[in-house]
Amino acid sequence: MIGNGDRTIILAHGFGCDQAMWRYILPFLEKHFRVLVFDYVGCGRSDITCYDENRYGKLTGYAQDIIEICEELSIEKAIFIGHSVSSMIGVLAYIERPKIFRSMVMICPSSCYLNTGDYHGGFEKSELEDLLEMLDSNYIEWANYLAPVVMKNHEKSHLSEELAESFCSMDKSITKNFARVTFFSDNRKDLNKVDIPCLIVQCTEDDIANQRVGQFVKDNLPNSKIVNMDASGHCPHLSHPQETIDVLKNELLTEKFLA
């Protein structure tokens, strides 16, 4: 937990990386809020011995991580910001423990990545299986990402040292399982169970969560709003931190989100 403020923000990272993804927008958030950043079990610097294949064989296992952390820290009525798959993990956690949440921000969300019937998730099953093959081809290299890092924020060089050791490094089998559970889950029917204010942050040219998917999420969340960013890609908080901060500033610090 870092930062100042009466209200709490929970930052939940997506598939492929860890809490370090939030570093560029963290300085803004910690000025206004108490911020909870964490790694899901199996990611970043979490205790890998706690990883249980059965528990994390479903997104509800990851949702349970959020619930357990919040219960441990007595967090209630928090603003939840989830990137990518964490948007749906947040939805599942809300359904299980609504009192934890005040409102939600979903950055590049998708309720289902697979194309099924009229729904255009963006990927065919065979294409997602290609991802698992690519993970196999690349896992040897992942061990090499332990080289020193040149951090842009020199004031936090101690953080740099810590993060250099772990930035986005992953265990192969855990990552494969997380990939499977992320890209083969279908949470479309869960969306209408969320009635708190939700903000969908949609990038242009996002090849992982396309605009039709973002619109679908918006249409199925009863109390939601969508903001289309100029930023392209799937990680605007990393590639376009200032624009992301501006969106959050405009949308988060409103009566609706803070009520």
Binding site: F15, D130, L135, M170, D207, L238
Partner: protein, 378 residues
């Protein structure tokens, strides 16, 4: 021509330049790809991995080494490349080596590795299953041994019931036949009434026995309410209520405090005194010596808490009654409570406490009875 792939992109990932080597491999012209996003060239899996994993590292470190990405050629063929990527203030660069043959070799290695991993996993699962099987077998053996002990208990009980119930039924039959034959011989009403009274008494005895049987089977319905209580006190109070004839009680108690269900232990001594009464002749009285000792059990008990046991030993010496010295209790409780099953009660109550009961003839008119209970110090 450089024999490697070189791609230059803007920070927004639009292709600025691609060298002829890679254009040839993918069967594209430069103009067809210029200003397109790199994503249009990446296979779906490569695209997800690049966006979710390698791109964050590139932004963080400005450099990513040795990543495998597949590019899709104009004809839809996948071409694997081993890339290094770098990022500066204006551009993103990719330099790579075509991995076609090496990829086949690596795919073979990965396949073999996956097969080995799967085999290990299956082996692990098999070992787990074996372990679970072992546990199931162990619990089945425990269950079986419990069932054996219940069976043994039932056999003993059946034997006692059949023996104890046979007697009143035989007597009923005897006196009923006698009554009928006497009625036929026109005996007096007084004799008939006497026989009928005997039948009533015997029927009452049978009824009491079945009531005791019910009481016996209810013993384990209620959980034990254990506490420490005074052994001497409980023996004395039980003795006062019993019909046992004694020359005296002699105590040698190393341990005076017993841990158990007081009501049930009370019942145990009541039954024990009934047992003593039953096995001795009507004209005999008892001298009782009662000892209590703690000892270490040799049983294979994992919990050391239960390794210490308390042995209560009662030795009775039966002698012909001397009316002046015999302490006779006038309690009528046992007359109306029915006979039989006392040994079964003693065994059941000690077993419920996790202990045992045994009886042994140790000499002429001498019987030793031993109660063993788990010992818990105060």
């Amino acid at each position: 021509m450089l024999p490697c792939a070189v791609i230059r992109m803007t920070l927004k990932e639009s292709i600025v330049d691609i060298n002829p080597y890679i254009l040839g491999k993918l069967s594209y012209g430069l103009e067809e790809l210029k200003n397109n996003s790199i994503n249009s060239l990446l296979s779906p899996g490569s695209r997800i991995l690049y966006k979710t994993h390698f791109y964050p590292i590139l932004v963080e470190k400005n450099m990513v080494h040795e990543i495998v990405l597949s590019l899709i050629g104009k004809d839809g063929t996948k071409h694997p490349f081993l890339f290094n990527m770098s990022m500066d203030a204006n551009d993103i660069f990719l330099t790579g080596l075509f991995l076609n043959k090496r990829n086949d070799y690596e795919s073979g290695l990965i396949e073999a590795k996956n097969a080995a991993e799967n085999a290990l996993l299956k082996n692990k699962e098999l070992m787990m299953a074996q372990k679970e099987l072992g546990q199931v077998q162990k619990s089945l053996e425990i269950q079986l041994s419990q069932e054996r002990s219940i069976n043994k208990e039932l056999r003993i009980l059946n034997k006692m019931i059949s023996h104890d119930l046979q007697e009143p039924l035989r007597k009923i039959q005897l006196f009923a036949s006698k009554t009928i034959s006497e009625a036929k011989r026109k005996y007096s009403w007084e004799v008939l009434a006497l026989n009928l009274n005997r039948i009533i008494d015997i029927a009452f005895e049978g009824h009491s026995l079945t009531k005791r049987l019910q009481q016996y089977s209810e013993l384990e319905f209620y959980p034990l309410r254990k506490a420490h209580f005074d052994l001497r006190g409980i023996i004395e109070s039980t003795k006062a209520k019993s019909s046992i004839s004694t020359y005296g009680f002699y105590y040698d108690l190393e341990v005076e405090s017993v841990y158990g269900d007081e009501n049930k232990i009370n019942l145990l001594f009541t039954e024990l005194f009934e047992l003593v009464n039953r096995i001795s002749s009507p004209d005999h009285a008892q001298t009782l010596r009662i000892t209590s000792r703690v000892f270490e059990s040799n049983e294979n008990v994992l919990n050391t808490f239960h390794r210490k046991k308390l042995r209560i030993c009662i030795i009775t010496h039966s002698q012909v009654s001397d009316r002046d010295t015999v302490k006779r209790n006038n309690s009528e409780s046992s007359d109306r409570r029915g006979v039989g099953l006392d040994l079964a009660f003693c065994e059941k109550i000690t077993t419920l406490h996790g202990g045992s009961f045994s009886r042994e003839n140790i000499g002429p008119e001498k019987v030793s009875m031993e109660i063993v209970l788990p010992y818990v110090s105060l």
